[in-house]
Amino acid sequence: MKVCLMYRGRDFDPGERLPWNGPDLMQDLQLDRVFGAMAAGDRFLRDVAKSAALSGLNNSLDIILYRQAVLRDCLNNSPLVRRIYKLAADAIETRRKSYWGSDVSTYPPSILSGAVETLQIFLGALTELRTIADEDAGSFASEGFTQFFTRIKREISNDYLGEVQSRLNELKFPEGVLVSARLGRGNKGTNYTVRKPDGEKGWVRRVFGRRPESYTFRIGDRDETAARILSELNCRGINLVANATAQSAEHITSFLASLQNELAFYLGCVNLHGRLTDAGEPVCFPLPAPAGERRLSFEELYDLSLALEMQKPVVPNDVHADGKSLVLITGANKGGKTTFIRSVGLAQVMMQCGMFVPARSFSSGLCAGVFTHFRRKEDVSMESGKLDEELSRMSQIADRLAANSLVLFNEAFAATNQREGSEIAKQIVRALLERRVKVLFVTHLYPFAHEFYGEGMAEVLSLRAERTADGTRTYKLIEEEPLETSYGEDLYTKIFK
C-alpha cells in the first residue's frame, strides 16, 4: 500500500540523491532561508523540504499540477493534515525507540516479541487513520487525497483490523511452540517451521480416541549444555516466523514513514504560506508550461529569501520574456540585478517541485535542470587561478546540460579583462543558445552584452537595472539596451565623498 501524495503510483524518497549542483543552488539562491521558514523549527521538515525542492527539478508537468492540487487541500484542511502527520510521526517515533532488530539484537525470541509489540502500536495508528478517512475524506478534493482515502477505506476494513489483532494474539504462543522439520544434510534437522496447532483436528482425534505415535525424552535438570542446545533449537524453530513478523512491521513502518515524509513537505508549504500571507506578501500557484516552450512572464515577483531576511516587503519586478532564450541583465551596481536573477531561479525551483511562488502571477516553461554560475567570494590565495576556477565550474556544468536547461550567470568570467571575458562569454553563450539552453546573464561585460543585443535576435531580452538621473536606484529592472557604464563611478563618489 502506498501513500502517493507526491507522485502518482510511487513513493517520495527524501533520501534520494540530490542533483550534483545542490550545494551551489543552496548557496546561490539562498534556499536555506526558504527551507528555514518551511521548517518553522522542525528539523525534519527542513530536511524533507530541501530534498523535495532539489529533487523536484525532474518533475513532469503532470506531477506539478498533481502536487499543486494536494497542496491546495492541505491549505484548506491544515488541522486535519497536522493530525494525520502526528499519528504517523508518533508511530514512527515509538518504532525508532524500540531496539529490536538492531544490529546488536538478532535473538529471534526478542525480535518476535518486539515486532509484535510494535505492530500492536501500528494497529492503533491504522485504526485512527481509518476513522479519519470515514469522517473527513469529504473535505478533500485533490486526486491525491481522494485516492489515498479510498485506499485506506478499502485496505483497512474493520474485518482486516480484527484479523491483524488475532494474528498478533497467536504470535504470543499461548499453547507453546510447535515446530516441524525435515532431514537436511547429514540427516540434521532443517526447514524448521512453526505450525499452528490445529484445534479442530485435535477435537476429532479425541473423539475417536486415536493418539498419534510420539516419543518424549527429558534432558537432565542440571545439564546446562543440553539446556542451551534446547534453547537454540527453539530459536531455530521460531526464526522464520520472527522474520516474517519483523518484516511485516518493517513494511508498515515504511508505509507510515512515507506518510510522514510526504505530509512533511506539504506542512512545510503550509508554514511558509502562513508566514507570507500574514506579512501581506502576494503568493500564487504558478502556471507551468511544457519544457519546449519559451515562456517566462510574471508580475510582482520578489526575492523570497531577501523578504524572509528583511522581514518586510521587498521591491518586486514584472517581466514579460515569453519567446526569449537569453535574458541579459546589465546596469547599475547595487541596482537589484542579483536579487532579480535569484528571484527567478528560486521561483523556477519552487514551481517545479509543486509549490506556490512568491509573485502575483508567474508562468514559466519547465527546465531540464536549473544551474547557477555565480561569482564566488574572492579567495586571495588563489587569485591567479580565479578564471581557471570559473571555467572549471563552467565545464562541470556543461557536462550536465541538456536542451531546455536553465543557466543563471551572475557576473561570470569577469575575472579577466573585459575583452577576454567577453570573448569567452560570447562563445559559451552562443553554443548554449544553439543547443537550446535558456540563459539569464547578469553582466558588466559590455562587448558581450552589446553584441547579442546588437544582433537584434528575437530571442534576446535586455533588462537594465534602473537608475534615475540623480543616481538613485529604484531596484526595478526595465527593458533597455545594455549600457556601457555600470555607474561604478556613482558608488565611488558616494563612498569617497
Partner: protein, 511 residues
C-alpha cells in the same frame, strides 16, 4: 580399445613417472613459477609431478596433444569441469562420512556421496557418448565409461541410492519443546504460521524488507540433543532407516579406481588450459608444436616467456614476442647486446618452449617446430660473489664439464652469461674452447654472452642481438633479432642523443 590413462597411451610411457623431484633446470627457466601458477588451487590433484616429467616418445606427445586440443573445445571443457566439481564433492562427502561419530549421520553422508557420484558418472557418460570425440585418449575412456555405467554393479548403486534418497526426503516430523522435555511425532496437516503472518500483512509489502533471520552456526557434527531427536525420528520411520543401513553395507567400495584416476589426471590438461586462457585473452598466441626427434631445424614464431607473461597479467603490461629459428646445419643461437635488453628472457623462452612441448602442451607462439630432447641442461649465472671470483670460475668450468660429458647430440644446452668471472681475454678463449665441444656434439644450444665474436667461431652458430630504440638507445625494445653483434652502432646512437656526434658537436662549438 583398452584404456590405460588419459595422460599415457601405453604403460611404458609412464615408466619413471611421476618423477619424485623437480628437474634441476626448472628454477633457471622459471618453469617452477609456471608450474606453481598452473597447479594453484588444484592441490588436491597433486599434479606437480606430472609437470616434472617430460615424455620421451613422439607418439606419447601426440596422444596428449590430441586430448588437449579436444579439451580446448568449450563444450568438452564444460563437461569435464562439471564432472570434476562433482567428484570433488564426492571426496568431501566421503571424508565426512569417515570422520563423523553418529552412525545415522555417517550413513547419510555416504548416501549423498554415492548420489553425487552416480550423477557425475552418468552425466559424463551421457555427454561423452553424444559428443564428437576425436582424441584416442578420450575415445578410449568413453568406451570404458560406457561399459562401466551399463554394468550391473553401477546400475544397482544408482537405483538403490535414488530409492533411499526419496524415502528420506519424505520424512517430516514435529517437535514440541516444553521446559526440559522434547516430544517428537509425525506431522499432521498443521498450517504454517509464518505464511499466515505474511498473508495478513501482504498489502503493506513494498519491495524487499531486511532479512531479520538469525544466523546459526551450522557445524557438520550433530550435538547430543539432535542425535537423540534423530534416533526418535528413526523409530517413527523404521523401514526407511533399516534400508539405509543395509544399503551402506552393500556399496561400501563404490568409487571405481579407473574413474578416480581419470578425474585426477585429466586435471593436467584443465589446469594448463585454465592457466593460458587469460594470457591468450591478452592477444598472445599459443600453438601445438610439430615435434621431431630427428630434425634440428627448429622455429618459433612470436613466442614469449610464459612466466613473464603470467606475471605481467596482474600489472597489465604486455610481454614482447620474439621469434627464433635454425635451419640447415645451424645449431647454436649466440645472443648478445645491451644489458636489460631481454636476453635472459629470450633464453627462458627458448627453454620453456622446448620443455612444454615435451609435456604435450601447447607452447607460446603462432607456429612452432621443436626438437624432442633427451636431456635439457641450463647454466645460468648465479648471484655474483665478489670475494669468491676464483672458485666461481672453477665452479663454472666444473659445471660446464659435467654438462658436456653428460650431453648427447639429442640434448639441449642453455647457457646464460657464463665464464664472466675472469678477464675478457680469458673469457674469449675459454668460450671458444667450449664452443668447439658444442660444435662437435652437434646439439642444440642457446648461449647468451657478451663475447660477440663467439658467433663467428662456429659455422653452426648464428648471432642474435637485443635491440634498442634508435632515437633513444636508453629505451629497450626487448626485441631479439638475427643480426651480427655490433657494439659500435649502439654507442653511436647514445652519442647522438646527447648531441656528441661529430657533426652535432661541431655545430655546438661555434668557430
Amino acid at each position: 580399445m583398452n584404456f590405460e590413462s588419459i595422460l599415457f597411451e601405453t604403460p611404458e610411457d609412464r615408466t619413471g613417472i611421476p618423477s619424485p623431484e623437480m628437474p634441476g633446470f626448472f628454477v633457471d627457466l622459471n618453469l617452477d613459477q609456471i608450474v606453481a601458477s598452473v597447479t594453484k588451487g588444484k592441490e588436491e590433484y597433486d599434479l606437480r609431478a606430472f609437470f616434472w616429467s617430460p615424455l620421451r616418445r613422439l607418439g606419447a606427445i601426440e596422444y596428449r596433444q590430441e586430448v588437449m586440443r579436444e579439451l580446448e573445445r568449450p563444450d568438452t571443457a564444460r563437461v569435464i569441469v562439471a564432472f570434476a566439481q562433482q567428484m570433488h564433492n564426492v571426496r568431501r562427502y566421503l571424508a565426512r562420512a569417515d570422520s563423523l561419530y553418529y552412525p545415522l549421520q555417517k550413513q547419510r553422508w555416504f548416501l549423498d556421496a554415492a548420489e553425487v557420484y552416480c550423477g557425475a558418472v552418468s552425466s559424463l557418460a551421457g555427454e561423452l557418448s553424444a559428443a564428437d570425440v576425436t582424441s584416442r585418449g578420450l575415445a578410449a575412456f568413453r568406451g570404458y565409461l560406457r561399459d562401466y555405467s551399463n554394468s550391473e554393479l553401477f546400475k544397482s548403486l544408482e537405483k538403490e541410492t535414488r530409492e533411499s534418497k526419496t524415502e528420506l526426503a519424505d520424512v517430516e516430523y514435529c517437535i514440541r519443546i516444553k521446559g526440559k522435555s522434547v516430544t517428537v511425532r509425525r506431522c499432521e496437516s498443521e498450517a504454517d504460521l509464518s505464511a499466515d503472518v505474511e498473508k495478513t500483512f501482504e498489502r503493506f509489502r513494498q519491495g524487499e524488507a531486511r532479512d531479520y533471520r538469525a544466523r546459526f552456526a551450522e557445524p557438520v557434527e550433530m550435538n547430543e540433543v539432535e542425535a537423540q531427536i534423530l534416533e526418535l525420528v528413526a523409530q517413527l520411520y523404521p523401514d526407511t532407516f533399516d534400508a539405509l543401513r543395509s544399503y551402506c553395507e552393500r556399496h561400501k567400495d563404490f568409487p571405481d579406481p579407473t574413474i578416480v584416476a581419470f578425474d585426477r589426471e585429466v586435471q593436467f590438461y584443465v589446469a594448463y588450459l585454465d592457466f593460458i586462457r587469460p594470457i591468450r585473452a591478452e592477444g598472445l598466441s599459443f600453438c601445438y608444436p610439430v615435434v621431431s626427434d630427428t630434425s634440428k631445424e627448429i622455429s618459433d614464431l612470436e613466442g614469449f616467456d610464459l612466466a613473464l607473461a603470467n606475471k605481467f597479467l596482474s600489472d597489465s603490461r604486455q610481454v614482447v614476442c620474439n621469434d627464433f629459428h635454425l635451419q640447415g646445419k645451424e645449431r647454436i643461437l649466440v645472443v648478445s647486446g645491451p644489458n636489460q635488453g631481454g636476453k635472459t628472457t629470450f633464453a627462458r623462452q627458448f627453454g620453456q618452449t622446448h620443455y612444454l612441448a615435451s609435456l604435450g602442451c601447447p607452447v607460446p607462439g603462432k607456429e612452432a617446430k621443436l626438437f624432442l630432447f633427451d636431456k635439457l641442461f641450463t647454466h645460468f649465472e648465479k648471484e655474483e660473489n665478489v670475494e669468491d671470483l676464483r672458485s666461481k670460475l672453477e665452479d663454472d668450468l666444473v659445471r660446464i664439464h659435467d654438462i658436456l660429458s653428460e650431453a648427447t647430440p639429442r640434448s639441449i644446452i642453455i647457457a646464460n652469461e657464463i665464464l664472466t668471472s675472469t678477464t675478457l681475454n680469458d673469457a674469449v678463449s675459454l668460450s671458444k674452447n667450449v664452443m668447439g665441444s658444442i660444435d662437435r656434439l652437434d646439439l642444440l644450444c642457446l648461449w647468451v654472452t657478451f663475447v660477440e665474436e663467439l658467433a663467428s667461431c662456429s659455422d653452426k652458430a648464428v648471432s642474435l642481438v637485443s635491440l634498442v630504440v634508435p632515437e633513444d638507445p636508453t629505451l629497450r625494445t626487448y626485441k631479439i633479432a638475427r643480426r651480427p653483434g655490433d657494439g659500435i652502432s649502439y654507442a653511436a646512437a647514445i652519442a647522438e642523443k646527447y648531441g656528441l656526434t661529430y657533426g652535432a658537436l661541431k655545430e655546438r662549438i661555434k668557430p
